[in-house]
């Protein structure tokens, strides 16, 4: 069973379009995250949700809107896609914010977004 899953794995789209990436975790964790990884492999946190509540919202354009319908899901919707949005987006989850030994962050396989 996949612990953290994301769909789609690849997403190719035109500038200006709106797209969504879905994330689901079956670990019973209470905290979920979205990260962006650029072409140089730099990983940056975008959002963090704890029990469906937004905890962290980094300096991300408001074209990006996360939605957490329940604890097991955290979706990412992106409006008016731009070339600079091309990256790999990772979803992750952890228990208690991941600060307890043995309760580390589990990452999904990533969604490679290419904006043409």
């Amino acid at each position: 069973d996949t612990a953290v899953s994301q769909t789609p794995k690849y997403l190719v789209t035109q500038m200006g379009n709106d797209k969504s990436i879905k994330c689901e975790q079956n670990l019973g964790h209470d905290t979920m995250y979205w990260y962006k990884q650029d072409s140089k492999k730099f990983l940056k946190i975008m959002f963090s949700y704890n029990n469906k509540e937004l905890i962290i919202n980094e300096t991300v354009p408001n074209r990006f809107s996360p939605k957490s319908p329940d604890k097991a899901h955290l979706n990412l919707h992106i409006n008016s896609l731009e070339l600079g949005d091309s990256a790999v987006y990772f979803c992750a989850s952890s228990q208690e914010g991941g600060r307890v030994y043995g309760n580390e962050q589990f990452f999904g396989p990533g969604t490679r977004l290419t904006v043409l």
Binding site: Y33, I55, F90, G97, Q105, F106, F107, G108
Partner: protein
Amino acid sequence: GESVGLHLPTLSVQEGDNSIINCAYSNSASDYFIWYKQESGKGPQFIIDIRSNMDKRQGQRVTVLLNKTVKHLSLQIAATQPGDSAVYFCAENLPSGTYKYIFGTGTRLKVLA
């Protein structure tokens, strides 16, 4: 401040040798640190973690060292194997309640046969 990835440093190591990957973290208030391994086409995978009240922690073939004085972390991998080839990241967690992880630039480890 947060680290900015200009390019990905690479460490090349002979199979069977020990590897040491270094990381400078940014915030002196960070009190929890994690090392991740990311293989090509996959998400980062937890390797080992350490709290700021420790300076060393050992796992299976891996050891993390923490030097808070100079804000430095290292990951030591004993008897490096081809399967260890990956990009390695350190991550720091700001104090309780922030749920925020700041990742380092990453180091690519290449294991030479």
